[in-house]
Every structure is written in structure tokens, then in C-alpha cells.
């Protein structure tokens, strides 16, 4: 028993959200996009937030990704209280601790596959050349894009782009990778392949993955599934059993 307590104290959660709310000001009235959401996400987990459009998934991922601030509540990401970071500190925090995967892939069109993955190492972190190359090649290998490394984004398919984006998100060794609807622009087969890649990365690098989706078919890929409805957390599903929050 004593051992379990000790373990709980020293454990650093990837995310701890306590009664997090977010209001948007739309003219005169405030819209509550998230209402007192609380949860914890453990390191190296593969988590999904599911819900219909407008349920607050993007809002929540933006908060965890330090792209926006909650209106109320407490939020810790990778052991850091992110509420009080200013603009520049947020940017630095994102660059050092987080990886992002976007719905539209968002690769830089003027850079090759290799250079896109290199970008955060050059422009965000300052990783020396040899180490840079090693990391990029490892990831290119892992996502199966070695052959395409000198191609530009407009010369590869959507699924390939998203695999490059996964490599770009992971190349900085982030503690947490956030992906808002990463498969929304992909057909089902490709979507599953991309999720497989993400899971494989999690297994290899022990990185926490949090993704959102409104697509019930791919939710099954997640190990923990949180359900959102109208800005409220309405359910938590752990693979192998179900329990309500």
C-alpha cells in the first residue's frame, strides 16, 4: 500500500485539468465552450477526445497546447502550470515540450520533407548538425518516408504528409503530442495507417499522444477515450472496460 502512495506523489502527469472552463466572447454574449472539465492524463498514454462538432474538442486541445488560456480552472501540462505563461514563454514552452499535428497537415510548402522535419530543430531548438541528421533519419525511417525525403509537400499524398507531420511533431522529443482531428482530411484506410504510425511512435518514444476526432470508427484506436458534449466531459472509456466520469 505504502508503495502505491509513494508512486502517486512522484508521478508527473502529462496533463492535469481541474475544473477548466473556457468562455468565448461573441459580441455582447459569452459562449461557454468548455464547462468545468477535469481529468488527468498519464505519461505515454494514447488518448482521444470524441464528440460531435461544436462540442469543444478544439477548444480543449488549444488550452492543453498553450495556444489559448482557460477562463477558469487550473491546468498543468508536463508538470508546468501553464496559466501564467506570457506570449513568449508560451511559445518557448510549446517549442520545448509539445508537438503538434494539424488537420490540414500544415507542412511548409517551400521546404522538402527532410527540411520540414528539420525546421523545429533549427528554428525552435538549437540542435547541432550531426544530432539533427540522426534524429531526422530515425524518424523518417520510423514513419516510412525515407524514400520521399527530398520531395516537396505538393509531391506527396495526404497520408504521407500527415506521416511527415508526425515526424516533425516528434523530432524535438516532446513530452506530449497534440493532434486536432488529424485524420479528418484522410480516407479511412489512410486514417487508420496514420493512427497506427502514431501508436508505433508512442511505443518507440514513450510520448503521450492526445488526439481529437468526431469519427466514431477510428475512436477504437485510442486506449483512453473521453467523450465531450456541449463543452462537458460526459464519459471516459478505457480499452478493455468502461467507466463513467
Amino acid at each position: 500500500m505504502g508503495l502505491v502512495v509513494a508512486e502517486n506523489i512522484t508521478k508527473i502527469y502529462s496533463v492535469v485539468a481541474t475544473k477548466v472552463s473556457k468562455d468565448y466572447q461573441a459580441g455582447e454574449i459569452a459562449i461557454r465552450a468548455l464547462n468545468e472539465v477535469s481529468f488527468e492524463i498519464e505519461p505515454a498514454s494514447f488518448v482521444s477526445f470524441v464528440g460531435p462538432s461544436g462540442s469543444g474538442k478544439t477548444t480543449l486541445l488549444n488550452l492543453i497546447g498553450c495556444l489559448d488560456k482557460p477562463t477558469e480552472g487550473k491546468l498543468e501540462v508536463a508538470g508546468t502550470d501553464v496559466l501564467h505563461l506570457d506570449r513568449k514563454q508560451s511559445a518557448a514552452f510549446r517549442g520545448n515540450n509539445l508537438g503538434f499535428i494539424f488537420q490540414d497537415f500544415n507542412l511548409l510548402p517551400v521546404l522538402t520533407v527532410f527540411e520540414n522535419i528539420e525546421y523545429p530543430l533549427l528554428m525552435v531548438q538549437n540542435i547541432p548538425g550531426g544530432e539533427r541528421k540522426k534524429r531526422i533519419m530515425t524518424l523518417l525511417e520510423a514513419v516510412g518516408m525515407i524514400e520521399q525525403k527530398d520531395k516537396f509537400p505538393d509531391q506527396i499524398s495526404g497520408g504521407q504528409k500527415q506521416r511527415v507531420a508526425i515526424a516533425r511533431a516528434l523530432v524535438t522529443n516532446p513530452k506530449l503530442v497534440l493532434a486536432d482531428e488529424p485524420t479528418a482530411n484522410l480516407d479511412h484506410k489512410t486514417a487508420f495507417m496514420v493512427l497506427e504510425s502514431m501508436k508505433k511512435m508512442r511505443n518507440e518514444f514513450q510520448t503521450t499522444f492526445i488526439f481529437s476526432t468526431h469519427d466514431q470508427k477510428i475512436v477504437g484506436e485510442a486506449e483512453i477515450v473521453y467523450s465531450l458534449e456541449d463543452g462537458e466531459l460526459v464519459g471516459k472509456q478505457v480499452k478493455g472496460g468502461e467507466k463513467n466520469a
Partner: protein, 413 residues
């Protein structure tokens, strides 16, 4: 930094036509400015050279008050022997001076025994005059040499033509001295002077001893001393220095005896030279406007087109300062592209112009060969201006990009 440049450069290549158009605009602007500055510049220095080296000298010293009534060539405002000797002594000590030439200037009548007109005469020591205004001989035509002996006269082309007087003919000069007595003397025409714009169109030259004789001077008096410096570039500095030295020389009433004037005060061409400078300034101003507007326009578009890319790089942690530099470097590269092309093209065009030996006329002088010279300093200054302006032009769009909220930018379609 190299990577920032790489990205900026590739972004420029992304819209090849737009980049090409904007860079060509900058290039054209630079070419025009270089052409204008170098052609007018050479024209200016050539004209200044003509003025100073064939007539005025670099600067002149007169008795105080002479210049105000120079149109009448007043004999009563000449420098008396004593003052002249003192001045000459002072001038001989100035190391900056290459040569000086004392002149007696007076107005008189010029007669061919058939016709009579008025003339302005310069009595000079021919050897000293030629050292002070070395281009003077180039204006003398029909001469049997460039020497001017006693009893000889160089007459202006104007009179030679209208009164049909030629080299070898005998003429009479009649003048009234300051006491009012009239005297005349025969001269032999030894040369005809091509005219030059401005005062001087009716100027003839005789030996200073003859001038003294015509004016019945017992003791030498001079109207002015023309000075040539070793280095024309030091003109202003030397003029100030000389003025300082001469201001200590007072007459019996305790007033300064001498006045110093550079060619600028002595020739109306100075105003033309000033006009050229002002025009060059406005042309440069237009270049600045062209660069500013065209680069700013391109950069505003570039930022607008790339809002989502800006959102992406901001989201993954690129600091605002880096985003700012990315766009400033893009504008800078565009400017540099134009600068390099403009300088090369400008240089080539000017070289071709010089090679083709284009001629132009100035006043009544024709066939002056245009030798436009691009001063390296001009190229450097113009290039720097354009580069600085490109940075300034991209600053506002770049700031806008760096201040974007990542989520808003990412939502942008």
C-alpha cells in the same frame, strides 16, 4: 541565419513573376538614378572645369566692394601697388596655391577703323594667366601660337565674326582712365577666343604692360588676382582660411581691404549646378518612394497569403522575433536582388554610353564628349539607401506577422 535566408529566398521564388516584377522595378529605378547622377555629374564637373580653368580661376581676391560693381569694371576700386604687393606676398606663402594671376580689367572701345564697339579687356601676364587658367589656350583659335606678346590682343569670337576682324589685322583700343583722360593704342590681333557661357562673351586679353600704358598708370594697380589651387576639392576650406588671413588686413579707415570669392559667387553657372543637385535629390526621393511602395506592397501580400503558415510555425514554437526576421529578410533579399541587378545594368549602360562617345552642346560650345562616370561612392550610397528602405518597407508587414495569434492564424482560410 543561413536557414532564415534559405526560407526567405525560397518564399521569394515561390511567386516568381511577382518577385521578378518587383525586383525589376527596383532595378530600373536604380539604373535611372545611376544614369542621371553620373551623366549630370560629369556634365557638371566638366562645366565647372570650363568655367574655372579657362576663365575664372578657382577663386579670386578683389579690393573690398569691387564685386558689387564688377559690371562697370570700376578703375577706382583697383588694388593699389602697396595693397597688391602685400596680397601677393601673402598668397605666395600659401602652399595650397598652384598659381596666381594678377589682372587689370577695364572697359574700352574697340575700333577696326571702320566700325567701333565696346569691349571688356583683361590685362594679364600671359605666362601667369596660362598657369592659373590652363584651358584658356584651348579657347584660342586662329592663333599662331598660344603666346601673347606686348602689342598683341586676343579678341572675342563675337567681334571677330560681326566686325570681320581676323588674326593679323590691326585694331585700336581706346579707354578712359580714372582721371578722365582718354588714350588709345594700336594692337595686332593674335588670336580669336571661342566664347563661353556667362560673362566673358566680350572679354579680350592684352599684356598687362599694355593695359598700364592705355590707362596711363604710373604705378601698377590690379583689379583682381585669380588663384588656382593644387586641389580643387579643398576649395571651400582654403577660401575660408584665406578669408581669415585677409580679414586682418585693414585699410586706413580700419575696414577690411580685401574680399575673397570662389568661382561659385563669380559664375551664374553655379545656380545651374545647384539645380542639377536638387534634381538629383528629387530623383533619389522618387527611387525611395518606388522601392518603399513596391516592396511594402509585396510583403503585405506575402504576409496575407501565408497567415496559416505563420500560424503553424508560431504554434510549433517559433519565437515572434524569428518570424519577424523571416519576413524582413525576405524584403531585404528582394531589395538586394534589385540592387545587384541595378548596379550591374547601370554600369553596363554607362560603359556603353561612354564607349559610343556621345556628344552634347553647352552654350555655344559643341562637340563636348559625354563621359559619364559612375562614382563608386554614388553606387554605394544609392545601394545602401535602397537596402535600408527595403528593410523599412518590410518591417510593418513583418511585425504584423510576428504578432499574430497562432489559433486565429491557424483558423484563417
Amino acid at each position: 541565419m543561413r536557414n532564415l535566408f534559405k526560407i526567405a529566398f525560397r518564399n521569394l521564388l515561390r511567386y516568381k513573376r511577382r518577385t521578378l516584377l518587383t525586383a525589376s522595378l527596383v532595378t530600373l529605378g536604380i539604373v535611372f538614378v545611376l544614369l542621371f547622377v553620373s551623366i549630370t555629374g560629369s556634365f557638371k564637373s566638366m562645366m565647372i572645369g570650363q568655367m574655372t580653368d579657362s576663365m575664372l580661376g578657382h577663386l579670386q581676391v578683389h579690393r573690398k566692394g569691387y564685386l558689387a560693381s564688377i559690371d562697370n569694371l570700376p578703375l577706382n576700386l583697383n588694388l593699389k601697388m602697396q595693397a597688391y604687393k602685400k596680397l601677393e606676398g601673402i598668397l605666395n606663402q600659401q602652399l595650397e596655391i598652384e598659381a596666381i594671376s594678377p589682372r587689370i580689367k577695364f572697359g574700352g572701345m574697340f575700333s577696326t577703323f571702320v566700325e567701333t564697339t565696346n569691349i571688356r579687356l583683361n590685362g594679364v601676364y600671359p605666362d601667369r594667366e596660362l598657369k592659373t587658367v590652363p584651358l584658356l589656350p584651348s579657347r584660342v583659335t586662329n592663333a599662331r601660337g598660344t603666346s601673347l606678346e606686348k602689342g598683341e590682343i586676343w579678341i572675342p569670337e563675337l567681334m571677330s565674326k560681326s566686325m570681320k576682324v581676323n588674326v593679323g589685322d590691326t585694331v585700336v583700343i581706346i579707354a578712359t582712365n580714372k582721371d578722365g583722360s582718354v588714350n588709345g593704342k594700336q594692337f595686332k590681333v593674335a588670336g580669336v577666343l571661342e566664347s563661353i557661357t556667362g560673362p566673358g562673351g566680350r572679354d579680350g586679353y592684352i599684356h598687362i604692360d599694355d593695359a598700364m600704358e592705355v590707362l596711363r598708370m604710373e604705378e601698377m594697380e590690379v583689379s583682381e588676382i585669380a588663384i588656382r589651387l593644387k586641389d580643387f576639392g579643398r576649395l571651400q576650406g582654403f577660401s575660408d582660411k584665406l578669408e581669415g588671413i585677409l580679414s586682418g588686413e585693414l585699410n586706413k579707415q580700419g575696414k577690411p581691404m580685401f574680399e575673397v570669392h570662389t568661382w561659385e559667387k563669380l559664375s551664374p553657372f553655379y545656380n545651374i549646378a545647384r539645380m542639377i543637385d536638387i534634381m538629383a535629390f528629387f530623383i533619389k526621393l522618387m527611387l525611395i518612394a518606388i522601392v518603399l511602395i513596391s516592396i511594402m506592397n509585396v510583403m503585405i501580400m506575402a504576409v496575407y497569403e501565408r497567415i496559416r503558415e505563420i500560424g503553424t510555425i508560431a504554434a510549433i514554437g517559433t519565437l515572434p522575433g524569428k518570424i519577424l526576421s523571416l519576413f524582413v529578410l525576405e524584403g531585404l533579399s528582394l531589395g538586394v536582388l534589385g540592387v545587384v541587378a541595378g548596379n550591374i545594368l547601370g554600369f553596363i549602360i554607362i560603359t556603353i554610353l561612354n564607349f559610343s562617345k556621345m556628344t552634347f552642346s553647352f552654350g555655344r560650345q559643341t562637340g563636348l564628349i559625354l563621359s559619364a562616370q559612375v562614382a563608386p561612392m554614388d553606387m554605394v550610397v544609392i545601394s545602401l539607401i535602397v537596402i535600408v528602405i527595403s528593410v523599412i518597407a518590410s518591417l510593418q508587414p513583418a511585425l504584423k506577422a510576428s504578432r499574430m495569434e497562432p489559433i486565429k492564424a491557424l483558423r484563417h482560410v
